[in-house]
């Protein structure tokens, strides 16, 4: 009996020594700061772990938590853990994680948080603050296919700061056109500038930009709709109806504003068939 106890104890001692690969806290804190070590954790726990499942699967969160238990300084793990939460409207949980990610790695996640505030939670003032901060860190960069001034313009448009929005969109145009001034401009930049001038009641400019948007993307439902509204305001019923019906047909055929996140949250000024039907009455 005593022999078997000794044998068990020595096995335990061996197992403990085998586990000795686990690092002492001080050493772990040092190594956690290493980009290489962080990348290896991301490969192990995110790419080969969480990403093997849907983000709505509990294992997604478990893998993120496992990584953070090893090293709580990996911004990407916080951001990934927040993905299902933001899409479920759980803002308190999601933004606690997004804030940590942006704090740890503002180069990677500050603009993304600004995007979430602008498109998901309609926190336009918060989004502007994030985009202005990140523009100082990474001037001329983009988020979700758009320049930072595009999002600032969108936020200012929604806040009713129309003059500021105009300045932002001009800067967006400048950045998109590049040094040659010849590069193509995103159709949604043209669309929102059209909406901006509509808000300013500068109908000629609004028509011009919405028409340019439709040249790039003829089925753009919102560009057709707002152009229809302009013609309605001007008393041109025939043209108004033509564009409103085009908007209705485009939506029914599955055309959308064409932004990656419209499945999760409506973009500003995005419409449904209901608004078109109301305008056609």
């Amino acid at each position: 009996m005593a022999k078997s106890w000794l044998w068990c104890l020595s096995l335990l001692a061996l197992a403990h020594r085998g586990n000795g690969q686990a690092l002492a806290p001080a050493k772990l804190a040092d190594i956690c700061g290493s980009r290489r070590y962080q990348d290896s954790l991301v490969t192990r726990y995110i790419e080969n772990g969480a990403h093997q499942y849907s983000y709505n699967d509990p294992r997604w969160t478990q893998y993120c938590d496992s990584l953070l238990a090893v090293c709580p300084h990996v911004a990407y793990a916080y951001q990934q853990k927040a993905v299902p939460l933001i899409k479920d409207g759980k803002y308190a949980e999601a933004f606690a994680l997004e804030n940590r990610a942006a704090e740890l790695d503002p180069h990677a996640w500050l603009a993304y948080r600004g995007f979430l505030k602008c498109i998901f939670t309609k926190d336009y003032a918060g989004a502007i603050s994030d985009f202005q901060q990140v523009a100082r860190l990474k001037p001329g960069s983009r988020e979700m296919d758009h320049t930072y001034p595009f999002f600032e313009g969108l936020c200012n448009l929604e806040l009713g700061n129309l003059q500021r929005a105009e300045v932002n969109f001009k800067e967006d145009l400048r950045q998109q056109k590049g040094p040659s001034g010849q590069q193509a401009v995103h159709f949604n930049t043209l669309f929102y500038i059209g909406v901006l001038y509509l808000e300013m009641k500068d109908y000629a400019q609004a028509q011009s930009y919405l028409t340019q948007c439709l040249k790039a993307y003829p089925q753009h439902p919102e560009a057709n709709y707002y152009l229809g509204l302009i013609y309605q305001t001007q008393g041109n019923k025939t043209r108004a109806q033509r564009y409103l019906l085009a908007a209705q047909k485009a939506l029914a055929s599955g055309y959308r504003l064409n932004e990656d996140n419209i499945y999760y949250a409506n973009y500003p000024r995005q419409i449904t068939d209901y608004e078109i039907s109301q305008a056609l009455r």
Partner: protein
Amino acid sequence: MKYFSSLLFLGCWLPACAQRVVLPGGEYMDTTSVRSPACADAGWARYYSVQGKYPRSSYTLAQAAQAFLQQQKQAYVGSGYVTFRFAIDCAGHRQPRVQVLQTTSQYQPTHFRPELVAALYAYFQTLTEWRVGVRQNAPVNYLAYLTFKLQDGKVVAVVP
């Protein structure tokens, strides 16, 4: 019979009043779990994988919600977010169990005055045109949410 009119009045009035229930897993406006039996075997999805956003623009919903609040003739206060999370069954009917989440404008958990949450919930109950979720040609139940962004007691935006 003499109480019939009182009962009828109660019957018409009660659906607008939520049962606020605090459970360890969260706060709910209603915990009744009646389901359409036909949907018991249907699969589950999230609103975004079945185009399940409510068929009105966010602007239309925000305007309507604020108009509804004004009709209550009460002064509301507070800024932040009130979110209702719920399920739509495979026939397009919203299920009674509704979780309520409340945060400040800075996304910190908070509680608004119950009258404000109850008024938003009463407006939310007027939304009856939820889409039927379809996945691989079969109707599915889906989870959805609706958030009211508040500024000084007024609805300024609706998400998603």
